[in-house]
Amino acid sequence: MTTPSEPVLDPAHAAFIMSPVIVTAAARDAQNVPSVCIAVGRRIAEDRRRITIFLCPARAGTFVADVVASGALAVVFCEPASNRTLQVKGFDAVVEPLADGDAALLDDYAEAMIPVYTAVDAPAAHARSVLGCPGGKLVAISFTPSAAFVQTPGPRAGEPLQPGALPRAGL
């Protein structure tokens, strides 16, 4: 994939990604059998040309191996209270070491996600469980967003992302 001249994501999209949203990701193996996992955090580069998601490999199944083998992944960012949802695709994903500041970033994310879950009737303990990682060893996977789509439920779901705020559900 070539790097587009303008980033796929605009500042509003980047802000949405860095707000307290649930991050989930999909990859696939050589036979196109998909894998799926929940990320425990995310980071976006200042120029918006690189997204990093953080995973607990013990809970990610074959996802990490699939990404390493193909570089292809899809990452969904969802704000459950509003159903606003964004999907980003990448084809150059690689595993990277965690950077300075990532640990604090992940702590902040986990803390911020508690009210997000409780707002949709899931207890705080649910957030801690879903975002927990047995053994504590995390993996960072970084990729260039090459395409992005609206995935908020409604008639516009699946459309390529337009600049500005995501549509509300049903619109």
Binding site: V36, L73, T85
Partner: protein
């Protein structure tokens, strides 16, 4: 999948990964994962989206589902098999989706186009620190056993219906319930018993195919909704649409349906025997997500016992009726048990008016019943007044040309229960009293006057 059914409930949606033929993965949230059987699940197909395109081209998909009680995650390897656009699975998912849509502010957005059936190829438990599972609300199997034994002691349909509803209340904490039976050719169901409502609503009717109860009857499948939804409200809205569709004339509308004003959970289970849907056992609750898959299992089992009982008791009543002719006759003045209500106008006649067009019967101007039960009552009243008869058999009523039962296999006993309960509820001066298998007597507390009126028979 049996052990994971709880993961298919709850407020936390599942996730689904698919892959296009060119190797591009895709992620989507699932609004509904339906348990089909131990090896199959069904997903709601609502939009022609990337997920849809992908599974049609590459049927392998991976789901991630969450146990709402423990937060445990499970990964399901699945393979797309087919899409169903009608029938029991489709209707069951459509109703459930209506509840989910309403709950998540997606009413009008979430519309079921099809039920996509997947084979479950493998299940992987995701390791993690899970929350401890809460203790079960009630232990279903012992409650089911107690219920089955309790019902096994019933000797007639009347007590079987009441005991069923009492057992649901005492064994399962189900405080609002009703039994409706199918009026087979009439495309409707009539309430024959209820529990937990200010008025029993016995005799009220709903059209087959509408609302939770009507759809469960038409499809012969349980319909369970865990959230408040106007789409499947079975009371006013259903009957309003029936009226708009020209069904009002044939539908019992004088007797209000029992029911909660705002049911947040509803479960309608068909009563089936020998492959035929005889009626619906319906329960509801003001609480969201009140009824689980386990409750559905229990209710299906109870409804099956009820179905067999209805059929067996009908057969027994008919065999008991065979060859018997009533011999008892009594003068009207001699009839009237102590249970009959005292009336201020004792001595004044009770005016019975019958309208042949719809079979409706009025006692002293108050509406009693219409349809088949109305025709039965009118025949009994005529025989009482003109022939002085008080003793009757089910068998003679079944053959009586004045009654015109809609079907040879019509459950006459249930019609009599309905009539008997209406008479009691209205405080009428007439009662039906069982005198043996397939036999009953008419107990009359006041003189009856069969009044003619314009349009009356």
């Amino acid at each position: 999948m049996d052990a994971l059914r709880a993961c298919l409930e709850g407020v936390i949606p599942g996730m689904m990964a698919t892959c296009a033929p060119d190797g591009t993965p895709n992620m989507a949230y699932l609004s509904q994962v339906q348990y089909v059987d131990a090896e199959h699940v069904a997903l709601s197909f609502q939009f022609f989206n990337k997920t849809r395109q992908n599974v049609l081209a590459n049927p392998r998909a991976t789901l991630l589902i969450v146990d709402p009680d423990t937060s445990a995650l499970h990964r399901l390897a699945v393979q797309y098999l087919r899409t169903e656009t009608e029938g029991p699975l489709f209707e069951s998912m459509k109703a459930k989706l209506a509840g989910i849509a309403s709950h998540t502010g997606m009413a009008g957005v979430f519309v079921l186009r099809g039920a996509d059936v997947y084979r479950v190829l493998g299940i992987e438990a995701v390791p993690g620190a899970h929350r401890p599972a809460p203790p079960p609300r009630c232990s279903v199997m012992p409650a089911l056993r107690r219920t089955a034994l309790r019902l096994a002691r019933c000797r007639d349909l009347d007590s079987f219906l009441d005991e069923t509803l009492a057992a649901l209340a005492e064994g399962f904490g189900v405080t609002h319930a009703m039994v409706l039976l199918v009026d087979r050719p009439g495309q409707r169901l009539y309430t024959v018993a209820s529990r937990g409502y200010p008025a029993s609503g016995v005799g009220s009717e709903i059209p087959r195919g509408q609302g939770v109860i009507g759809v469960a009857a038409r499809e012969g499948t349980p319909i369970r909704i865990s959230h408040l939804t106007s789409e499947y409200a079975y009371a006013r809205t259903v009957r309003a649409s029936a009226a708009a569709g020209g069904l009002a004339a044939m539908l019992e509308t004088e007797i209000p349906l029992p029911g909660l004003a705002e049911a947040h959970s509803q479960l309608a289970v068909p009563i089936v025997a020998c492959g035929v849907t005889l009626g619906v056992l319906f329960v509801e609750s003001p609480r969201e997500m009140r009824f689980s898959y386990d409750d559905e299992d229990a209710l299906v089992t109870v409804a099956t016992q009820l179905g067999l009982a209805i059929q067996n008791m009908q057969a027994a009543a008919e065999s008991g009726e065979a060859g018997e002719t009533p011999t008892e006759t009594a003068a009207p003045s001699a009839a009237g048990p102590a249970a009959l209500p005292e009336t201020a106008a004792a001595g004044a006649p009770c005016v019975v008016r019958h309208f042949a067009a719809d079979g409706s019967v009025f006692l002293d101007g108050d509406y009693l019943i219409k349809g088949v039960a109305g025709a039965i009552f009118w025949a009994l009243a005529n025989d009482y007044v003109h022939l002085g008869r008080t003793a009757f058999t089910n068998r003679e009523l079944r053959l009586d040309p004045r009654i015109r039962l809609p079907d040879v296999s019509d459950n006459l006993e249930a019609r009599l229960i309905l009539l008997e309960r209406r008479l009691v509820e209205r405080g009428a001066c007439i009662r039906l009293e069982k005198t043996g298998r397939g036999r009953f007597r008419l107990a009359v507390g006041r003189r009856l006057e069969l009044a003619g009126a314009p349009g009356a028979s």
